[in-house]
Symmetry: C2
Subunit: 195 residues, 2 copies
Amino acid sequence: MARTQGSHSDITGPRVREAALRLFAENGYAAVSMRQIAGDVGVQAGALYNYTPDKQSLLFDLMKGHMDDLLRAWAAQSVPETPQMALEQFTRFHIRFHHDRPEAVFVSYMELRNLTPENFEVIEGLRRKYEDQLEAILRRGVAAGAFDVADPKIAAMAVIAMLTGVNTWYREEGRLSLPEVEQIYWSMVRKAVSA
Amino acid sequence: MARTQGSHSDITGPRVREAALRLFAENGYAAVSMRQIAGDVGVQAGALYNYTPDKQSLLFDLMKGHMDDLLRAWAAQSVPETPQMALEQFTRFHIRFHHDRPEAVFVSYMELRNLTPENFEVIEGLRRKYEDQLEAILRRGVAAGAFDVADPKIAAMAVIAMLTGVNTWYREEGRLSLPEVEQIYWSMVRKAVSA
DNA sequence: CTTTGATTTGAACGGGTGTTCAGATAATTC
DNA sequence: GAATTATCTGAACACCCGTTCAAATCAAAG
């Protein structure tokens, strides 16, 4: 018995990635077995190897895909006129984008140490690229006299850490809507770097 | 062959916890085996069970110990006169305390999902207790007209996320000393919640 | 110096791991 | 409708897992 009715590469491939993402987010990369992922897809473990060379590549592809999505979505934004507007755009963009894909965010932040050194370098490079976007905004604001931060690089790290933290506590059914959260965080970010 | 010269419970016990903490921080709870921990201590795997009933308790005890240390150290501080001074105290305390024990911090934030539900509840309760300390400071500041935050609870989460982020990038050999980092973050925190 | 009790070993338990692959099956092509 | 190709199964590979426990060893007590 093999190949149940209606099965296709185009269907199984994405389902493998979806199941892996969900299980990695829920239980952690090391705690999830290929057999678990396969079971979730409704297939035997061996079949997974039609879609990934190994477990490590599955993790890496998920994280790389997430970082690519992030940078692509950011690059697709319009360029605001002032540093102040750019910072507001970044704040709201970061909160929304991360809110929309909590599993990918969680995996990308938690499973860095389970990447091989080479794969880690790639993801780390992409992350730095994203951080550089905010740092550039802050530098422009300082140059224009709109912001006052002692160290733009560190301020960028601080702001990103603060914004990413939303994912740890925000619940859809909670007392605040996402726009309200955006507003609260934008207010804090604006003041934190204000001149 | 058993029990090599000079071995004692008082020595092996702490060494087990130290090895477990270091290995959990480095590779993650699920990826570390009892045999690895034992090997690090210089003992066979079976001997570990003189010091912990099981692997889960080892993780829980490390995390519980860390949270207890945190709350005890915070409680030992003097109570400042103004909300502004209290916030500065919290900011500097958090950065220093977390800087001093990066492994315990890392494990306590990364391995929450590897706790049993009951153990998770305990750790989560302690964490909330700590967050409540900051929230109380913010509320007092708002009541006194010194701070302006739309939502003290969320502001507390935001500040803590920002401060804890220091651990992800700070390096002893980096270009900034810890007092300098404290100053930069205090400046941002102060402004972020300012009236 | 013997006895006692704490400490550790080493082997075993049942079970799970990532990965490979020949053979079976189903969809597609001619 | 037969041949081809993509897809999947099921079993096997060598190895690692947390935990238990009788037996061995060592430190301390009498």
